[in-house]
């Protein structure tokens, strides 16, 4: 049984790459997700339902579609990709950074949804009280709205992290399946299942995936409870 935890160097590099991509994905999306969630929860403006739908599109599209669109936009011959490449010598297609962008696009709606829900549940009368005590709108946001939305933010964070760890379709379409560069956990499992005699190695990665996912969910539940208690909600 203990042998199981003797990871091979290949497995370790796959794990580290997946973690790097997932952590960067969360870091990249958290601030924009909070901003968009706030806009959707609190503001009414022209084009709001269009923005809402666009953000949610990756949830309902086959993942290969956003992946292909990213290739058209950010690929080396893509609209933006070409510009970046010729002017800055910079390319994210077929790199781990591209994998981050692909999973960020897929994870963004999940993050926005849970943060938006949390913000819409914040009692606006408390925000009014904060204003009457001298807090400017931005201070109100950081001292009242954001802390009271914390459980939803944590949920969004973990959902995005897990989505990124599991992202397959958009990633393989946009950045391919390159060992040590874009071959994250699900891509590695897929590759092994296509290899003769790869079944056992694939199974090991499958188990690692399940343990990671389970761990993420349990940590999320724990953090959420803690955050809820801190804002005065009592859990049963």
């Amino acid at each position: 049984m203990l042998d199981f935890f003797n990871f091979t160097p290949a497995e370790i590099s796959i794990l580290l790459l997946s973690l790097k991509v997932a952590v960067c994905c969360v870091v990249l999306t958290i601030a924009p997700a909070i901003a968009v969630a706030w806009l959707l929860a609190r503001m009414s403006f022209f084009g709001k339902s269009l923005l809402d739908s666009l953000i949610h599109l990756p949830l309902v599209l086959p993942p290969v579609v956003p992946g292909y669109l990213l290739l058209l936009l950010l690929g080396n011959n893509g609209l933006i990709g070409k510009f970046l490449n010729t002017h800055f010598g910079f390319s994210i297609a077929f790199t781990w950074m591209g994998a981050v962008v692909a999973s960020a696009v897929m994870a963004f709606p999940l993050m926005v949804r849970s943060i938006r829900l949390a913000i819409s549940h914040v009692d606006r009368r408390l925000e009014l009280a904060a204003q009457s005590l001298g807090a400017r709108p931005l201070s109100v946001f950081f001292t009242v709205t954001l802390p009271l939305s914390m459980p939803g933010i944590i949920t969004g964070l973990i959902l995005a992290f897990s989505r990124s760890m599991g992202e397959f379709g958009a990633t393989i379409t946009f950045v391919g399946n390159i060992e040590n560069e874009t071959r994250t956990l699900p891509l590695a499992i897929y590759s092994l299942t296509q290899t003769p005699d790869g079944d056992l190695a694939a199974l090991r990665l499958v188990i690692i995936s399940m343990v990671l996912a389970l761990g993420a969910l349990m940590i999320s539940d724990r953090l959420e409870r803690k955050a809820s208690q801190q804002i005065g909600h009592t859990h049963d």
Binding site: L126, L128, Q131, S132, G134, R136, P137, T143, L148, G232
Partner: protein
């Protein structure tokens, strides 16, 4: 001194008032739906009147013609609501200290400890807000409003959701604040008994109009 001259039309209700408050403590009395709370929200900057002018100590905070409408956080009006509206993610002490962050030291009128002693809330400082009784919550809310060093303190039915025994926990402190603290105070209530204990200076409002 507070001067209000304002009209606000709602589909089912019109508030139309001209009022000068020059006593330190004024009670605004009227049945529910009479426009008391609307009047308060106009003074505080929560609701915007359709026309008129609101002045606090000579400063115009709203003028419909000159398009002046100071936001709530610049009006420096301490509000105490029927539901205390303490921040649930902060304990009692941090609730009380919250306004200090937004009040420059030279503008702070009270010492933290003086307010705590006045309202006898020293023993509650480390408590979470959900561990407080209704009367305790209102005392903390009152202390928090005072620590924002307001130019005007407005209390909107601060005892309406408390039963008789809890009222007796807060009434003496309201009296103390009315008697000892040198800040103009507007006390809104639909209960004559309550008002008689606080002040004799009463404005009567009904159906959106000042009656007396």
């Amino acid at each position: 001194m507070i001067e209000i001259n304002a009209t606000l039309k709602r589909p089912d209700f019109t508030l139309d008032v001209a009022l000068q408050l020059d006593q330190r403590v004024t009670a605004i009395f009227g049945p529910s739906g009479s426009g008391k709370s609307t009047l308060l929200s106009i003074i505080a900057g929560i609701s915007k009147p359709d026309r008129g002018r609101v002045m606090i100590n000579g400063e115009t905070v709203f003028d419909g013609e000159k398009k002046i409408n100071k936001p709530i956080h610049q009006r420096r009006i301490g509000l105490v609501f029927q539901d205390a509206r303490l921040f649930p993610h902060l304990n009692v002490e941090h609730n009380l200290r919250y306004p200090l962050k937004f009040t420059p030291t030279h503008e702070q009128q009270f010492h933290f400890n003086d307010i705590i002693n006045l309202l006898e809330i020293g023993a509650l400082l480390k408590r979470a807000t959900h561990q407080l009784s209704g009367g305790e919550k209102q005392r903390v809310a009152l202390g928090r409003a005072l620590l924002s060093s307001p130019r005007l303190l407005m209390l909107d039915e601060p005892m309406a959701s408390l039963d008789e025994s809890l009222k007796s926990q807060i009434l003496p402190f309201l009296k103390k604040v009315a008697d000892e603290i040198n800040i103009p105070m507007i006390y809104i209530s639909h209960s004559k008994d309550e008002i008689m204990q606080i002040t004799n200076n009463v404005v009567y409002i009904n159906a959106g109009k000042i009656v007396a």
